[in-house]
């Protein structure tokens, strides 16, 4: 944890309210996000119990699996989820704008510009917490390889139509969420935690109710009290007043309310199956429907508070103006969305179970680049974030006290003005360290020359962005009295080297995928302890 966030947390403890950790919103928020509040069943990985989903905060759609162990009911749930999510995604696929992309011409091998489509906007999925993102990924993995009866008439357990497609989209959202700064799939606790520092640990911040209690406590109550209340207060029946944001449910809810309700549902179902005539079946169907309605009411009772909390959190975030670079990152999200749309239209197979060596390396390189870019952009967009970097010695701000014109040696001397900055910051400047400032949105670099007055004065030599002439262009050199801020980190990220195509995977990495040389996974040998 950085020093400034420690200080902010201490201040939150003292004041009883979360403290701002940002002055602008660092993630793009869609005007029409799709909120998904999923619940899973205890004891079985990824078995959905229900969800609230939709784009209208007043009219969420409630999806429930009355018997989570029944695979058919699970499929019905996923099919219903697909009926909500896919039409929402489709509203973004049609509206496109023309854009250009650099591609390698397969014949000449040269880089050329190609006209392509770019979706004008992209869908945005909001889940309450990080565990929700994991569930989206898990659901995606469980669905994308399923086959529908239409795709394969022979398949023994065909999935309902659209379910595999939903799996591919959820996989894409889940994978994209791993890219730093992306906003196709957001976990609300993470985004709120980026913008406010609470007086509790970051582990406790993962409880949406407690987090919101710190950020926006009820009148007359401190954040700490409200958070404790959100975490622990139970009603007369022993149920949490603020149910966990899921996907896991509270054991007291499972044991006292859900389990008996599911048991009633099971009994009603067995009874219906055993009915001997129409009249009896009608009655028993009535009981089954009642039992199902009861489970639906239970699931709604524990998802609705979270649903409202998510929209409350979104309101709080919308109260912050969007950071200048957030829209650039959203554009990259739109590219990512358009790319996946094109892969689906082109009939490509679902994302493989595992990345091959080249894809994995490319993804890691992209994410590292995006992380560095995000760190730089957040600091440039937000003085409070920059203050944190200054405190960490990675940037410094101050007033220009002197500018001395100087020139480089050589045949055509270039301007290399020496700029002295008075600063209270203590940047970790090494010998000839490069520093950068933003000049009209572009980074101008300078190199560190010397310290004076025990570090209070920093002398820099500006080295670029001064035009082509012998005299620097107006406005390109800081002037005496200017307030400026230099960073020790670069503002823009260079693209990495191009990796070989997967078919060209070298021998050190097992050769091209699919060949014998790749390491074969072997199943664990069966031992005497294996009883199943």
């Amino acid at each position: 944890m950085s020093l400034i966030s420690t200080l902010a947390r201490l201040e939150a403890v003292r004041t009883g309210r979360a403290q701002p950790a940002a002055t602008v919103r660092h993630r793009h928020l869609s005007e029409r996000p799709l909120v998904l509040v999923p619940l899973t069943t205890a004891g079985e990985a990824g078995a959905p119990l229900g969800a609230l989903v939709g784009t209208d905060r007043d009219a969420p759609r409630l999806l429930v699996v009355p018997q989570p162990r029944d695979r058919d009911l699970r499929f019905a749930f996923l099919a219903e989820l697909a009926d909500v999510v896919l039409p929402y995604i489709d509203t973004f696929t049609e509206d496109v704008e023309a854009a250009e992309r650099n591609e390698t011409d397969p014949e000449t091998g040269k880089r050329i510009k190609v006209e392509v489509e770019l979706c004008a906007d992209a869908p945005q999925l909001i889940v309450p917490s990080r565990a929700g993102v994991e569930l989206v990924r898990l659901l995606g993995r469980s669905m994308r390889f399923r086959r529908t009866a239409e795709q394969d008439p022979e398949t023994p357990h065909p999935a309902p139509p659209h379910v595999p497609l939903l799996g591919r989209w959820l996989t894409h959202f889940g994978e994209r969420a791993r890219v730093p700064g992306s906003a196709l799939l957001l976990a609300l606790t993470e985004v709120l935690g980026r913008h406010w520092a609470t007086g509790q640990s970051s582990l406790e911040d993962q409880h949406l109710g407690a987090l919101l209690a710190w950020i926006d406590p009820p009148d007359g109550v401190s954040g700490a009290e409200a958070a404790l209340d959100a975490e622990l207060r139970r009603d007369a029946q022993g149920q949490l007043v603020c149910p966990p944001a899921g996907p896991a449910t509270d054991p007291a809810f499972d044991n006292k309310l859900l389990a008996p309700a599911i048991e009633r549902y099971d009994r009603a179902r067995t009874a219906l199956a055993a009915a001997e005539d129409g009249m009896e079946a009608d009655d028993r169907l009535g009981e089954l429907t009642a039992a199902e309605r009861e489970i639906r009411a239970l699931v709604e009772s524990v998802t609705r508070p979270t649903w409202d909390a998510v929209w409350h959190g979104l309101d709080l975030l919308r109260g912050l103006p969007e950071g200048a670079h957030a829209v650039d990152r959203w554009t990259r999200d739109r590219w990512s969305f358009t790319g996946h749309r094109d892969r689906i239209t082109a009939g490509e197979p679902p994302q493989p179970r595992r990345d091959d060596a080249v894809t994995a390396a490319n993804k890691l390189a992209t994410r590292e680049r995006e992380q560095a870019r995000l760190d730089a952009q957040e600091a440039l967009d937000d003085p409070l974030v920059m203050a944190g970097r200054r405190l960490a010695g990675e940037a410094f701000a101050g007033e220009v006290t002197d500018v001395v014109m100087a020139y480089s040696e050589g045949k055509s001397p270039r301007p290399r003005p020496l700029v002295t900055v008075r600063t209270d910051d203590r940047p970790h400047l090494g010998e000839r360290a490069k520093v950068f400032r933003s000049l009209g949105g572009k980074p101008q670099s300078a190199e560190f020359v010397d310290h004076e007055e025990e570090g209070a004065l920093v002398v820099l030599r500006v080295v670029d962005k001064m035009g082509r002439g012998k005299e620097p262009e107006t406005g390109s050199v800081p002037e005496k009295g200017d307030r400026i801020c230099f960073t020790l980190f670069e503002h823009e990220q260079r693209g990495g080297a191009k990796l070989p195509d997967p078919e060209e995977t070298p021998w050190t990495h097992g050769g091209p995928p699919g060949e014998e040389s790749t390491v074969q996974e072997s199943a664990d040998p069966v031992t005497e302890e294996d009883v199943l």
Binding site: R178, A357, R367, A392, V463
Partner: protein, 446 residues
């Protein structure tokens, strides 16, 4: 006769080197892997292998990890054979290489690989090689510091060569990624793993060698470093007790720093223990203690005697290093040293001290004053780097209570399927080092 006296370090190291060169020059395997403990002559081996490959008329590319390593190799090659034309491929940034290379007549420098074509040896960083495209691959490559190279950067350059010699130190810091990579944990080609891990997962039959003798570490340090960090691949020191000596012209003033200096001069190790306390990372007392030790080290006129020459060499600032875990700690120590008027002492983090060698090192213990022991602070390689940079003595400055801290924080990293568990783990290595240091403890309340 005991095995101790039978051990001839020179002959032992020579045998290992010969076997490595035989496999490299005449073997049939596409790769040869050499594990080298700290100061075992890795660079010497790389230079020798490069010269022999060049002599055999095999075009050679050398991949190192940083520009400093590349420049260092170029200089060493030129020292050994001034006639050999060497290409230094560099980036197109300002000041891409050490200016010392300009004085070497047979070193050609260029930012374009095409302009260096045909030279017997071309050297560059992995990052620069990744941008090079060739029609015909090099016959041979040497990959230096291969354990510090990430799998994905090997992927980017492996198409450039047919066969390669991979040299590195498995005990130093593993490469890292600045974003999570758990997604690929357990895959043989996990891009965040080390290049050697991936290479051996796919090519388990490759010959693997080991350099058995550390010429850097003194006889007082080799057993501890070997036991704590290389328990299954032990090594020895090339010198014996008594071959190296550290002495001071000015006697001790009885203060904590002076007493720990005497202890370290005598035994090779010193632990300056400050009172237990939870502190911020840049613990001002510990930082000042480190600076004071360095100041006294210089003031007391240290002189180092070693097998290199019969006369004692004065212990100057450039032969001393301070190692820390974090960059802000290094910055704090630099500031504290500047206040005491000390300049030219290297102060850096473990990552940046890798591959460097000094006479005396002063280490701020990674766990000193911490309330918790995270995976970062427990990493085996970090402690290994910090405690294996010295030729004479290593002084560790630490707050009391670290072994209790370790006991409170057993390793709890999730076990990933398919990932080979590294032994020893940082927890165990830390305990081993602490137990040894405890014998050389000087308790001091500043």
């Amino acid at each position: 006769m005991t095995p101790d006296t039978a051990f001839d370090p020179g002959a032992e190291a020579g045998r290992a080197t010969d076997a490595i060169l035989r496999d490299t020059l005449h073997g049939t395997a596409r790769g040869v892997v050499v594990d080298s403990p700290p100061g075992a002559g890795k660079s010497t081996l790389v230079v020798r292998a490069a010269l022999e490959l060049a002599d055999a008329g095999r075009p050679l590319m050398v991949v190192a990890q940083t520009n400093a390593q590349v420049d260092d190799l170029v200089v060493r090659l030129a020292e050994k054979n001034g006639e050999l034309p060497v290409g230094r491929l560099h980036s197109s940034d300002a000041d891409p290489y050490d200016k010392a290379l300009d004085d070497l007549p047979n070193v050609r420098k260029s930012a374009k690989a095409g302009e260096l074509a045909g030279l017997p040896v071309v050297i560059s960083t992995a990052a620069k090689w990744a941008h090079v495209k060739v029609d015909e691959p090099w016959r041979h490559a040497i990959v230096d510091e291969a354990y510090q190279m990430r799998s994905d950067s090997l992927l980017a350059v492996a198409g450039l060569f047919e066969r390669a010699l991979f040299v590195g130190d498995p005990g130093q810091l593993d490469p890292f990624a600045i974003v999570g990579s758990e997604q690929w944990a357990g895959l043989s080609y996990d891009p965040s793993a080390s290049a050697v891990t991936t290479l051996l997962a796919h090519n388990p039959e490759l010959p693997q060698h080991r350099l058995p003798v550390s010429w850097r570490l003194p006889a007082s340090a080799a057993p501890l470093v070997s036991n704590a960090f290389y328990p299954y691949t032990r090594f020895r020191s090339g010198t014996d007790h008594g071959d190296r000596r550290l002495a001071f012209g000015v006697p001790s003033d009885g203060s904590g720093p002076d007493r720990v200096l005497d202890e370290a001069a005598e035994s090779g190790w010193g632990l300056l223990e400050l009172p237990a306390r939870h502190t911020p990372r840049t613990d001002p007392e510990a930082v000042r203690a480190v600076a004071t030790v360095v100041r006294r080290l210089l003031d007391r006129g240290g002189a180092a005697t070693s097998e290199r020459s019969s006369d004692p060499t004065p212990l100057t600032a450039d032969r001393i290093a301070v190692g820390t875990a974090h960059r802000d700690q290094a910055a704090a120590v630099r500031a504290a040293l500047a206040e005491l008027g000390v300049t030219d002492v290297t102060v850096d983090t473990a990552n940046r001290l890798q591959g460097r060698e000094f006479d005396v090192t002063v280490v701020l213990h990674p766990l000193s004053g911490r309330p918790d022991a995270t995976a970062f602070h427990l990493e085996t390689g970090r402690l290994c780097v910090l405690t294996s940079r010295h030729r004479h003595a290593c002084i560790v400055v630490c707050r009391a209570g670290v072994s209790e801290l370790l006991d409170d924080h057993p390793s709890t990293e999730p076990v990933q399927l398919g990932v080979t568990v590294k032994f020893p783990d940082g927890w165990e290595a830390n305990h081993a080092v602490l137990a040894h240091l405890a014998e050389h403890r000087v308790v001091w309340r500043p």
